[in-house]
Amino acid sequence: MKKVFQIFMVFVMVLSLTACGSNSGGSTAESSSAADNAESNTGDNSVSVEDAGDETSAANDPITFTIFIDHSWFWFDSWGNDDISKEITKRTGVSFEIVRATDDQQLALLIAAGDLPDFIYTSTKQTMTLLEDSNVCYSYNELIDRTGVDIHASDTEIRNNKAEDGNFYALRNANVSQEVVDAGQNYDAGKSIAYRTDIYEAIGSPELKTLEDLENALVAAKELYPEVIPLLNNGNLWYFAEQLGIAGTSSVGYNSDGEVCYGLNIDGIEEYFALLNRFARKGLIDAEAQTYNFDRFSEVRNSGRSFMQLRSCDEAAVSNLSAAEAGTGYTWKLLTNELSDNAVVSANTGIGWSGTYISKNCSDPERAIEFMSWCRSEEGRKLCSWGIQGDHWDYNEQGQTVYTESYQAGIAEGKRMQDDFGIGVWIFGDQGDEKAFIDYAVTDPQSADIIAKRQSGAQHSTIMSELYFAIPTSGDELTIYNALEDIYSSEFLKVIFAETDEEYEAALSNWYKQADQLGIDKLEAWMRNAVAEYWK
């Protein structure tokens, strides 16, 4: 026993020496490896034609920033392992040490303890509200004043990112303006239904032009294939509200007087509930499927237990890819037309998705804002969203942007745009409009569907930025809003899965009663006021 103890003590001492030593070596090792990666990239055979002339920052010295990416599903948790990040480092000298979110409270701890990294990349509204504080982060306008860089932002964009104190602390990416949407160039073509071709043919390949058509098709499929779920949804049931022409989201919208209101009072919402309830009673949607995460959803879909799936506009492409890999022989097609004349496509606020915040702990805030300016420049956007010209994309004779053959070959092999190439990942500066996205004239199965979809619904979508500001960020109204949101999902499911008319009525009135008790009137009064403030 004593001898064992002695050996352990020696082991402990040795380890403690190595553990302490390696602490300090961290950041320098990171930046030197990033620099190595950047240098090795120049040896590629397909030479980059784009010269680093116009918008790159003056000081291209290597610098490593720390960043907290508040998306636990993010494709990467380290920098420099893909083509695009290496190229970014080559052109700007900037590399990142990434901490990817694992848990909700991580960031809160860092904020409270004042231990924030240089950058924070987040899309959560509460987090953004916390960060929009001059004690916590630098405001962009202050840094722009200091350095004089061009941040490439329109007035609308700046207004949409304005914090309570009048400054703006980030510019959300993937934002959309009304002009872009009207021109049918909005990349996000919203939710879609993909249907399996073999079952579709078995029920006689019926027309799917209206909601009624859809319902009939689902009923027919259920009769022919009782063990198959007719419509497998992964959330996204709001699709049907959009088809019915309801403008807004499940949380905020407009009531019959045209005023801003909470989701329960939206004009036409009861028609939406009734439709889903009818679907549920006919067995067209599945109760358990409402609890599925993506893994379980995939399992049901891949094993052939679903006819139609309701998810996002790449659903057909994704399903086909999985089926091909698994060898099951199923194929899917995307439903690219709308199901009613009133349909509103991807009713969104256009505000954007994630903002990149620069914390007060940033080692070099001037360099940081210069980097953001580069990201938002045409060169930066093209690199991050499209890839490296010559390697991944290029212009054809007509001047259209197309993917290169080597890229397409990679895709055909099963490589993925983000995971394997790093394209569309580091989109800090992406502005979600046509200029930032590739105009593919060549077929990429996902893109063809997306293009068809957005062209069909383009004329129906409306940007409603004010709705974003109708959601409270502090105070009693926030508590009311959170409580309402907290009960939303479970009450909603009780309503739509009610098996009799009495149950349905009871569930619905119970929900409204709870909402009243929670203070929905107070919230809506605040909302109307907030919207009025936004337009001032």
Binding site: V12, A19, C20, N23, W73, N234, S312, A326, R416
Partner: protein
């Protein structure tokens, strides 16, 4: 354990009944507990996309090592093993040392202020100021982003201490009496009498500490940002967590991106991560098991 003499006596009806009941129950227990784990291992060795088709229950349908190669080709697993092993060994040693000494000290009924001490210790099990003050404390102690954050705060586990106290109290007091009459001080008694007699409880506490250290990953999430200090359990949870998030809690755009990112993390990959992270400690435990089999008292008690 029942002593060897039992074997010589004849088996009665009662023996048959009890033995059959025990055997049947135990077989059921083995099936119910072993099969799910076995299922996970089968998934780990099965092709990822094929696993999503379902129906793989007993043998891999499309056997492959690709899940493991994907994980191990990422260099961080090698480093993570070193971290996991180090924190387990050091953390267990420190924990057992501190806990057994304190338990020994508090196990005597006539220690001055004993009641007060107990209350002070137990109070800390239920009251806490929350994560923020603790984080700031660790920061001020330079423990953030240091290996020692894994082993120092966890050294004193009041819960385990209470269990060990109970075990120490089962040692007959007469042994301590005779040692004291021989002139030994508390320190000697602890080393030469208390510890050797508590092998079973020491092994138990050591096992709890070891498994706790091996599986612990949330401290890595909150207190560490440097990649080279990540333990294996953290890497495993990163992979498993990626797909665990329900998209209904995310905003629409995040949900769309997330679904695309989650594509590549199949159930098989998650299972492979789990196998890599869990199996090592399962291999070590059987060596500690022998301490539970023996139970013979050293030195007879003269009544």
């Amino acid at each position: 354990m029942i002593s060897a003499g039992k074997k010589k006596r004849k088996r009665t009806t009662e023996d048959y009944i009890i033995d059959s009941v025990v055997w049947i129950t135990m077989i059921l227990v083995v099936i119910l507990t072993l099969y799910p784990f076995y299922y996970c291992v089968v998934q780990a060795f099965n092709n990822g996309i094929d696993s999503t088709l379902g129906g793989v229950y007993f043998f891999p349908r499309v056997p492959t090592l690709e899940n493991f190669t994907i994980l191990l080709s990422d260099g961080s697993w090698g480093n993570a093993i070193v971290i996991s092993v180090s924190r387990t060994i050091i953390g267990t040693l420190l924990g057992v040392l501190v806990t057994s000494i304190l338990a020994y000290a508090l196990s005597f009924e006539h220690v001055l202020f004993r009641g007060v001490y107990y209350k002070i210790y137990i109070f800390t099990m239920y009251f806490s100021g929350g994560m923020i003050p603790f984080y700031v404390l660790l920061k001020n102690l330079q423990l953030i982003n240091s290996f020692w954050v894994y082993v120092i705060p966890g050294m004193l586990n009041v819960y385990y201490m209470l269990i060990m106290i109970n075990f120490f109290q089962t040692i007959p007091k007469s042994l301590f009496e005779s040692a004291r009459l021989d002139g030994a001080n508390d320190y000697t008694i602890f080393l030469k009498i208390a510890l050797p007699l508590s092998k079973a409880s020491l092994a138990t506490i050591a096992l709890f500490f070891a498994v706790g250290q091996w599986n612990s990953w949330i401290d890595s999430v909150y207190y560490i940002t440097k990649d080279h200090l990540r333990p294996m359990s953290y890497l495993m949870m990163q992979i498993i967590n990626k797909s665990a998030i329900s998209s209904s809690k995310m905003d629409a755009q995040s949900a769309a991106y997330a679904a695309s990112a989650q594509q590549s993390t199949t159930t098989s990959l998650q299972m492979a991560a789990m196998v890599l992270a869990v199996v090592p400690i399962l291999v070590v435990y059987p060596f500690l098991q022998k301490y539970f089999v023996k139970g013979v008292m050293i030195g007879a008690v003269k009544e």
